[in-house]
Each structure stands twice: as structure tokens, then as C-alpha cells.
């Protein structure tokens, strides 16, 4: 029952009645209803929109790399940076709960990196990324890689202002990850199947994995890569170059 006016609706029905008004005459009761109708992630989305505008003005391609821990994100990233070094300006934001190990690995390639430690947090949010953009040197027309916290759940909900989410799935994981963690595979535009050099030693069913990914996201693009052997890296580099926005005058 509605606690304000006793209108006899239970909570579920209450929400379904459009235009149901709770306005009462002033002074009858100190309790009143106020309509809010706001997205809980509204604040994050505002920061994300600011980041997106900032990036667009500078012709920077921002990618949000997401995966479970141990999928080979950082190795793929260092390999990518090494290949594109000197051709495209790049920078990296590293998100981890603790340590600056990943940022150190990135800096060893000569590319500027900024480590965000989320502490107990399980994801990066657009506010953190906005602050990182203030201090990270990145030239116009460059590529910004944001390596999110290794987690296939929470980062799916937080827009950082990126152009694309790229989900990395290694073949040492289960082929059913796309349907076990559908939100992430739904949010991503590209799935990179990593560590494919290990396929001969595993029972990983590539076709099944791709079918699952397309079930949750019919338009997802898929690349096969081994960051260690270098197989398929060219396809990924080509994808990056195609995704880059034209540099504005």
C-alpha cells in the first residue's frame, strides 16, 4: 500500500501507474513524494560525455580494454605499443587495485603511462579517467589505451568516454565466458581471442565461443591474436588504424 495517501497499490503496481500524482494539500502531512526519474549512473555518464568531447576535440581514439585477470591484456598492449611506436602517438591509463607493475611494463616501451589504483574498487569510472587525462601527455591524433581492472562484471556498466570497449578473452579460459558474463560481451564492439598459439594444447572450441559471443552481441567483431607469437597482431593493428578518427584541422 502506498504509505503516503493509502491509495491501495502495492509497490510494483505503484511504479506502473503513469502520471499517478502524490501531491497533497500543504499542511495535511509532513511526508510527501518527490519525483526524481534520474539515471543512477547519470553522474558517471556526464563525466564520460566530458571525456568523450575532450578526446574528440583532439582526434584521440580511446579504447577501454576489459577482460578477466590474466587474459594477457598487458602483454598484448606492450606488443601493440612496440609495433606502433614512432608511427602513432600513444598513451596508456592502467587500472589495477594495487601496484604499479603494469604501468612500469608499459613505460619500459617508452610510451607514457599513468597508473590508477582503485584500492577496493572493482572498476575505473569516468571521473578517475577525466583526472588522468589532465596529467597524461598525449598528442592530438593519438591512441589512448585504458586498461581496466581485470574483471568481467563491473566495468561493463561504466562508460569512461571511450570510442569502443574491447574485450579480451584468452583461450585458456572457458569458451562459454561470453554467456557467463553476457553484459561485458554485449557492451564490447570487438572481442580479441588471445593466446591462440596455445590452441593445439587445449580443448577450447573457437566456433562455439564465437557463436556464444554473437548470441549476446550479434554485431561484435572478432579477431584471433597471440600477443606472444605475434600471430594475428597485424589484423589488430589494422583495426586500430581504421578505428582512428581523422585528425581535425
Amino acid at each position: 500500500m502506498c504509505t503516503v495517501c493509502g491509495c491501495g497499490t502495492d509497490t510494483a503496481e505503484h511504479s506502473l501507474i503513469r502520471g499517478h500524482s502524490h501531491s497533497h494539500a500543504a499542511g495535511l502531512s509532513s511526508a510527501r513524494m518527490v519525483q526524481i526519474e534520474q539515471d543512477i549512473l547519470g553522474k558517471n555518464n556526464q563525466y564520460a560525455a566530458q571525456n568523450r568531447r575532450w578526446l574528440a576535440e583532439r582526434g584521440i581514439l580511446a579504447l577501454n580494454l576489459v577482460s578477466s585477470p590474466g587474459s594477457g591484456k598487458t602483454t598484448l598492449l606492450t606488443e601493440t605499443l612496440t609495433r606502433l611506436q614512432g608511427k602513432v602517438p600513444m598513451a596508456v591509463i592502467e587500472g589495477d587495485q594495487q601496484t604499479s607493475n603494469d604501468a612500469d611494463r608499459i613505460r619500459a616501451t617508452g610510451v607514457p603511462a599513468l597508473q590508477i589504483n582503485t584500492g577496493k574498487g572493482c572498476h575505473l569510472d569516468a571521473h578517475m579517467v577525466g583526472h588522468a587525462l589532465e596529467s597524461l601527455p598525449i598528442a592530438n591524433g593519438g591512441i589512448l589505451f585504458i586498461e581496466n581492472v581485470g574483471n568481467l562484471v563491473c566495468p561493463a556498466a561504466f562508460d569512461l568516454g571511450e570510442a569502443h570497449k574491447v574485450v579480451i578473452l584468452s583461450v585458456t579460459e572457458g569458451e562459454d565466458k561470453p554467456i557467463k558474463y553476457p553484459d561485458m560481451f554485449h557492451a564490447a564492439d570487438l572481442m580479441i581471442l588471445n593466446k591462440i598459439d596455445l590452441l593445439p594444447y587445449l580443448t577450447f572450441d573457437v566456433a562455439k565461443c564465437e557463436e556464444y559471443a554473437r548470441r549476446v552481441n550479434p554485431t561484435i567483431q572478432i579477431l584471433h591474436v597471440s600477443a606472444t607469437s605475434g600471430a594475428g597482431i597485424e589484423g589488430w593493428i589494422d583495426w586500430l588504424i581504421c578505428a582512428k578518427p581523422p585528425i581535425q584541422a
Binding site: T3, V4, T11, A12, H14, S15, H22, S30, A31, R32, M33, V34, Q35, I36, E37, Q38, D39, I40, L41, G42, K43, N44, K120, G121, C122, H123, D125, V153, C154, A156, A157, F158, P178, I179, P182, D183, H186, Y212, R214, R215, V216, P218
Partner: protein
């Protein structure tokens, strides 16, 4: 555990609205949470109680309205009901579905004093 961040977002909105709409105490909060929003309802309840402690919403009742998932089937050209993202169309079996509802996370309304 991103429910903690979501609850902080809820509190921020409530505090902003308290100034705008002139209220000092929140008794009930109604949220609409889609079944495919990735929100764990029980975790949300737990986090909410922790986050609102010593705020204007301390002790407020959290009412969560679960919004069912629906999708537009490209093959059938109609809205169909689904349970999860990887569900096939219940009529034709196609996976060419565009989710149309069930992803939302909104604060709907508040009962305040």
C-alpha cells in the same frame, strides 16, 4: 561490488535533490532496476544501508522495482520477452534481438519530509 558505487550515485542524486526540492529527511527510495542491468539486488540493499548511514536517508526503506527484460526480434518484427541476454527469441529461435528494456537503473521517486 559495483553496487557500492551505484549506491553512492543514488546518495549524490538524493543530496542534490534535497537542496533543489527542499527536504531534509528521506523515508523511502524507489529504484527501478532492470533484470539485465548487472545489479545484484541483495548487494544493492546491503550497500544502500551502509552508504546512507548518518545521512539524510539514514534508515530509509529501499523499494526496488524490478523491470523485466524485453527485446525487439528482427526476424519476427515484434517485442518479445526474454530472461537473459543470450536468450533466443521465444517465437522463432533467432538470436537477432535488440534489447529494448531491462537494462535501466533509475531513481524513480522519494518519500520525504
Amino acid at each position: 561490488m559495483h553496487e557500492m558505487s551505484l549506491c553512492e550515485g543514488v546518495l549524490q542524486i538524493i543530496e542534490t535533490e534535497a537542496k533543489r526540492q527542499q527536504f531534509r529527511k528521506v523515508k523511502t527510495v524507489w529504484l527501478a532496476i532492470g533484470v539485465m542491468s548487472g545489479v545484484e539486488i541483495e548487494a544493492m540493499r546491503f550497500c544502500f544501508d551502509v552508504i546512507v548511514r548518518n545521512t539524510l536517508a539514514d534508515g530509509a526503506t529501499l523499494e526496488i522495482i524490478e523491470v523485466p527484460a524485453e527485446a525487439w526480434c528482427l526476424e519476427c518484427a515484434q517485442t518479445v520477452s526474454i530472461q537473459q541476454r543470450y536468450d533466443a527469441c521465444p517465437h522463432c529461435g533467432s538470436y537477432q534481438l535488440q534489447v529494448t528494456s531491462g537494462e535501466e537503473m533509475r531513481i524513480k521517486e522519494l518519500e520525504v519530509e
